[in-house]
């Protein structure tokens, strides 16, 4: 019954922005939504026209994802109305949203891990490859065609779990696009993408907009907004605080609207006091032209590279979470070591804040406190194994205060925290261990501006305490501003070592993508 509105598209609203194809728009009026104890959205009015890219920004918890979930039928609004082509509609479930031409790419990956890429792409729509018993071959061909449209070279019969995070994200986008959506909702589509992939995605977004698709785009990377969006809406605490053409507002103003206060400086100034070398990794001698890696006390070392360059894998090997390469030599504080387990790495003073905080960083069923002290239970317990509960509480509270982890108290489940605060908990558990070296794998991915700045200050603070920080990040300005030195990784090897002060995004990219093969420093 809802699909009927699709067959009779109303004429375009007269106030369409210039250049858009006037064929229809998706709008919400006076939307409100509450969860127990929280007003997630309040009197929100928002719309996206055909051919328009409308960016939706705001801090974590501002209500962006809630709004998208209402548009995609995952949540129902408590009040307000939704319109397509000026006709009021109801979206009781995601199926209806899809039949209305509204497709969504969620922030959290929603692929089924052990189904092939092709099966994931056409999940629930296998009928396209033949009714009843569908043809796997036909499905593969269809999937191949969809992926090629996006310039993605993933093998369609590989299980989704075997793809890198960025590739999975692209498959999700391909899935949404393959549904011939009139409106495409994207929740942080570039969070796990780097350079080239972002460009590919942007091209695709522009092409879709030209074809008349209305796009709602959530991103924490504000630089992207100016490049891709026509209009911009800022949400704060569930309310619209700004809405207008992108050209009429600049970046500092956007940030100020988001946080409700001016953030003077995005990146804290960096004063480094470097000590002696505490970690050196020499690649297997067989690996030609791979460079050695080193960290000094008090140094922040950046690790740049495209997704799939092997940075995460390298980090996991370093902390003993994956088997080390034969011939790879690790020297820690001048002593040669062979790290074979995370337990051993921990006792040597090495810790990893992993890329995927929910999968690898947190015990979501445990409290904030239990997550913070998880690395130091051995120190907190006596010879009988009994945990000193007072010290445990003291340490937990100290880190909640120091990192300003926002939670009612440290006994609440860590799953109740926002992304930024969860990330702080993962960091806290390694700070509690008081090791020498901490590896941060994409520590600011998917967290809001305020939490990012706090994370930057923490990284600085760590280095001032004399710790060695290894920072893996796909956010180039972040990497350049925070690091003393940057290594560029490509195909599992360090291909360049650069002084942050003397390099540029362009140079890093040239090394990372292989345009430039040579040495540096």
């Amino acid at each position: 019954m809802w699909a009927s509105s699709r067959n009779n598209p109303a004429t375009a609203a007269p106030d369409q922005p210039a250049g858009a194809v006037p064929s229809g728009r998706l709008a919400v009026r006076g939307i409100g939504k509450s969860f127990p104890g929280v007003r997630a959205l309040k009197d929100v009015t928002f719309e996206v026209g055909a051919g328009e890219v409308h960016a939706l920004v705001g801090e974590n918890g501002a209500g962006k994802s809630t709004l998208l979930k209402i548009l995609s039928g995952a949540y129902h609004p408590d009040e307000g109305a939704i319109f397509i082509d000026r006709r009021e509609i109801k979206i009781p479930d995601p199926r209806t949203a899809r039949s209305l031409g509204i497709a969504i790419v969620y922030q959290e990956l929603s692929l089924i891990p052990w189904l092939s890429v092709a099966n994931n792409l056409f999940l629930g729509r296998e009928r396209l490859a033949g009714g009843g018993i569908f043809s796997q071959r036909r499905l593969r061909a269809l999937a191949q065609a969809e992926l090629e449209k996006l310039g993605l070279k993933a093998q369609v019969d590989r299980p989704a779990a075997k793809l890198r995070l960025a590739e999975q994200q692209l498959v999700e986008i391909a899935r949404a696009l393959s549904e011939n959506a009139r409106f495409l909702l994207m929740d942080e589509p570039t969070a796990s993408l780097t350079g080239r992939e972002v460009e590919v995605l942007f091209e695709k977004i522009r092409a879709l907009a030209r074809a008349g698709v209305g796009i709602v785009y959530i991103s924490h990377r504000l630089e992207e907004i100016a490049r891709i969006a026509d209009r911009l809406t800022v949400l704060r605490d569930g309310q619209v605080v700004y809405s207008g053409p992108v050209g009429e507002i600049d970046l500092p103003e956007i940030v100020a609207k988001m946080v409700g206060r001016k953030i003077g400086e995005h990146y804290p100034p960096r004063t480094s006091r470097l000590g002696e070398e505490i970690l050196a990794v020499r690649p297997p001698s067989s690996a030609s032209n791979g460079r050695s890696f080193s960290v000094r006390a008090g140094e922040v070392v950046g690790l740049a590279g495209l997704v799939g360059a092997g940075r995460t894998e390298w980090a996991w090997r370093l902390v003993g979470a994956s088997p080390s390469l034969p011939g790879e030599k690790v020297r820690l504080k001048g002593r040669e070591v062979r790290i074979t387990s995370p337990t051993q790495a921990r006792s040597l003073g090495l810790g990893l804040v992993p890329e995927s905080r929910k999968e690898h960083g947190l015990i979501l069923s445990c409290s904030v406190r239990d997550n913070i002290v998880i690395t130091i239970l051995d120190r907190l317990s006596n010879f009988l194994g009994f945990v000193d509960r007072k010290t445990r509480a003291d340490i937990s509270r100290r880190f909640v205060d120091r990192l300003r982890i926002r939670c009612p108290h440290d006994g609440v489940s860590v799953s109740a925290l926002s992304g930024g605060n969860q990330q702080k908990v993962v960091l806290a558990k390694w700070l509690a261990r008081e090791g020498h070296i901490i590896v941060l794998d994409e520590p600011t991915r998917g967290i809001d501006v305020g939490a990012k700045v706090e994370m930057y200050h923490l990284i600085n603070q760590l280095s001032l305490e004399g710790k060695g920080v290894i920072l893996i990040s796909s956010d180039m300005p972040e990497l350049l501003s925070l690091s003393d030195r940057i290594y560029v990784m490509r195909q599992g090897r360090f291909v360049a070592e650069l002084e942050s002060a003397k390099t540029s995004q362009e140079e890093i990219l040239a090394f990372a993508s292989g345009f430039k093969e040579a040495q540096a420093v």
Partner: protein, 317 residues
């Protein structure tokens, strides 16, 4: 947006003690439908019957919190009793026999734990194999027939009375208390919850996941062995065919007690309540002279309802 976690105190209480609500309803229902139910003699009897399942379930709780399972406990109850009795007959010492039975069960648990920890075979498969292997061993060493013995201190563990309470009930109390303390107050207990909640995150945090699992299954084995010895004492014999279906009662007690089969959550007290619920069901049906065949159906339905209620209350929070 995260929903606020502060809700009315009643809801929080209900969500944490769903099993207790079921238990209270059951107690009320039984007392009303049978005059014999709420007598000291009958309740003591129920407690004695519950004790064996509760001791096994305490170990099962550890295993299920790590997102594992142990299907072999029923067979291990039989094997521990048989080994204990054979050693007792060799040595003529109850203490050595009892120790031997428990030690063997601990060893069996350790082997299971080692396989679960260091291979990629799921615990379900490993312990399903264990279920038939251990039963087979019990039949082999006894030649398939029960070994009866009417004298010896071991009978005290199953039949004795101390301070007015049956010894199995005292053992159950001590085991539950000790396991509760281990689970809530020790680093090992914290590791158990962590490994069950997120194995990979635990590993990356430097927890030795394999050793944690090994210990968990070893504890499960030891407690199952203890249960086997209590049963041997109560029956004054070792029966190679005993214990069939015990794994189901133990798993049911743990689940009714609110422990998640997905791992990461659960309490010993919940399990104790779950074991008592099952014990009362068995006892109450007998008092009401419900046909044994109908008892099975009713028990299954009540277990389902209890878990449904528990899930409903948890969602309400």
């Amino acid at each position: 947006m995260k929903p606020d976690t502060s809700s009315p105190k009643v809801a929080i209480f209900l969500s944490q003690y769903g099993a207790l609500v079921v238990l209270a309803l059951l107690l009320l229902g039984m007392s009303m439908s049978s005059k014999e139910f709420a007598t000291v003699a009958n309740l003591t009897n129920v407690a004695r019957q519950v004790s064996i399942n509760a001791v096994i379930s305490a170990g099962m709780t550890f295993i299920i919190i790590t997102a594992g399972i142990d299907l072999s406990v029923g067979s291990l109850v039989a094997l521990a009793g048989c080994v204990g009795m054979i050693v007792l007959n060799w040595t003529d010492s109850s203490i050595i026999g009892v120790m031997a039975g428990i030690a063997l069960a601990g060893l069996s648990g350790a082997v299971t734990g080692a396989i679960v920890a260091w291979t990629r075979i799921p615990a379900f498969i490993v312990t399903l194999a264990g279920l038939t292997i251990l039963r087979g061993l019990a039949l082999i060493i006894t030649g398939g027939s029960p070994i009866i013995r009417f004298e010896g201190g071991f009978r005290f563990l199953g039949q004795g009375v101390l301070w007015g309470l049956p010894v199995p009930v005292l053992i159950m109390g001590a085991v539950m208390l000790a396991m509760h303390i281990v689970l809530t107050r020790t680093a090992f207990g914290a590791h158990v919850y962590a490994v069950g909640g997120n194995e990979e995150a635990s590993r990356l945090s430097g927890i030795n996941v394999a050793i944690t699992k090994l210990r968990v299954y070893t504890i499960g084995g030891l407690l199952t062995g203890l249960a086997g010895i209590i049963l041997m004492g109560r029956l004054s014999s070792a029966q190679p065919n005993t214990g069939e279906g015990f794994e189901l009662d133990a798993i049911a007690a743990v689940i009714i007690g609110g422990t998640s089969l997905m791992g990461g959550r659960g309490t010993i007290w919940g399990t104790l309540v779950g074991a008592v619920v099952i014990g009362i069901l068995n006892n109450g049906f007998n008092l009401m002279a419900v046909d044994a065949h109908y008892q099975l159906v009713a028990k299954g339905v009540i277990i389902l309802l209890a878990v449904l209620l528990d899930q409903y209350l948890k969602r309400k929070l």
